[in-house]
Amino acid sequence: MNRKLLNRFYDRGFLFVGIFATSISLIFLLALLLDVIADGMGRLGWQFFANYPSRKPEEAGILSAWVGTVWVMVLTGCIAFPLGISSAIYLEEYSSKNWLTDIIEINIANLAGVPSIIYGLLGLGLFVRFLNMERSVIAGAMTLAILVLPIVILSTREAIKSIPPSIREASYALGASKWQTIRNQVLPSAMPGIMTGVILAMSRAAGETAPLITMGALTYVAFLPASPISSEFPYISIQGLFDAFTVLPIQIFNWVSRPQKGFAIDAAAGIIVLLIITFVMNAFAIYLRQKYQRKIRW
């Protein structure tokens, strides 16, 4: 066969393989979505969000689960991002390069790949037992925060590394201090990259079940953590941090393992809600990223 024909054959061939591979993943995803929507859509309604779980599938709801998820996600974010971003800044900008920082670097990369159940065991041993936090919202959030910390640190470091040295030089040459350079030039330029890391970390934390079950989050909760807003001075209450909780993935897991057909429908409805929460979160993060990117314009 002549060379030209052969090349065209490979060209076409790869195009076909590519389309095939893409459609397989798309078809599975679509099938999954359609199946879940067909099963669960009818169950969605005001009652489903406002009811606690129940023995009767048609009365069961996700109130404690979605409130728990919101609590845990917000807290995880509040713990993981400041810690992760400051560690990344320290490692990238301030630490001297020696064997110790090399070891730290390798370990952080490894931690990102550790199975999540291990973090659950750590949470159980450290927060729940040793620090006596019980199976509380704060213990769960801290466990998830540790779980996503490596992802936040790694992506923030990558984002900081991608800022051209010429920008730092320009800032230093004008008499800026190290912190001024980081604050005014490095961080704003690195923001889109950092946001990407935040998206990945948040979506991972939202879907995690294993570590929370391991550390002992309850699967049947018929109450809410105390509200953070109180009617008495100082109007803010942290009591909720120390209450027991459940989250959406755990609630879904619980329903799926029940034999009654009705709970399978509840589970499907729960999955739809979880998917929507993840989509909305990702959309918000992408919006933030776009906004920063527009402001930068390289």
């Binding site: 320009a170 230093y172 040459a173 800026a176 030039q185």
Partner: protein, 251 residues
């Protein structure tokens, strides 16, 4: 005659590798001093010693002394930030911040804590005028600096350096990324700047050194081979190596 810089027995190393070898030089005030030489001769290393930019390189080590208006800028009790503010720098590749033209020019002032809007406005305008770019950008001060052409970006970088009112401006091959027309504008600007500032310019373009400078130093292999009035260097060099270089026999 007062010198801006008195450089004595300057030796620089990157790790174990020597980069500058026993350099002695006096840089006059309100004049343009050019530093020429083949690639890798240490001219960039030299100019980056003058505002302590080399401090950013971990393996950098320096011996000897650099006196700026009589004070050793490498002595322990010196504030590096103050030195960098008084000794401005313009780099090889235009490197505006990914911000507006206005914010680029005002950055050096903002980090000093100057917030007064009308004062900032005044300095920004004056600096852009001094850098001969005001007429081109006055209607779009709040557009991104990255929308400017390369030559305009470089003049903006000069305006940005001028805005903090330095005594010295260092130019590290400022035209190597620019076309001849943009280069001519920058050279024009440099000869005007010497009325108010001491200028040190590194260049690998000998015609440029001949056109803009009053004094020229010729570096090779980390040594300062000859340093004299530009006219003398280019018409009657006393060193054989300098002559070979400027007549294009190597380099």
């Amino acid at each position: 005659m007062n010198n801006a810089f008195n450089i004595e027995k300057l030796n620089v190393f990157y790790g174990d590798k020597p980069a500058l070898d026993d350099v002695n030089m006096e840089i006059s005030q309100k004049a343009v001093t050019a530093v020429i030489g083949p690639s890798g001769c240490g001219k960039s290393t030299f100019i980056r010693c003058l505002n302590r930019m080399n401090d950013l390189i971990p393996v950098f080590r320096l011996e000897g002394s650099i006196k700026f208006n009589g004070t050793d800028i490498y002595s322990k009790d010196i504030d590096v930030i103050d030195i960098r503010r008084r000794v401005g720098m313009v780099f090889q590749k235009p490197n505006p911040f990914p911000k507006s033209i206005y914010e680029n020019t005002a950055y050096g002032l903002r980090i000093q804590g100057i917030k007064n809007k009308s004062r900032l406005d005044g300095i920004v305008e004056a600096s852009l005028k001094k850098a001969a770019i005001w007429d081109e950008v006055k209607d779009r001060l709040h557009q991104s600096a990255l929308s400017l052409s390369g030559g305009q970006q470089q003049r903006l970088c000069i305006a940005r350096a001028i805005a903090v009112e330095p005594e010295i401006i260092l130019f590290d091959e400022p035209c190597s990324a620019l076309d001849p027309i943009a280069t001519a504008k920058i050279e024009d600007l440099i000869t005007k700047l010497k009325d108010d500032y001491t200028v040190v310019i590194v260049t690998h373009n000998m015609q440029q050194a001949a056109r803009v400078s009053d004094y020229t130093g010729f570096f090779m292999m980390g040594k300062l081979h000859e340093f004299d009035i530009t006219k003398k260097i280019f018409t009657a060099p006393s060193n054989k190596m300098t002559e070979d270089y400027i007549t294009g026999r190597f380099g």
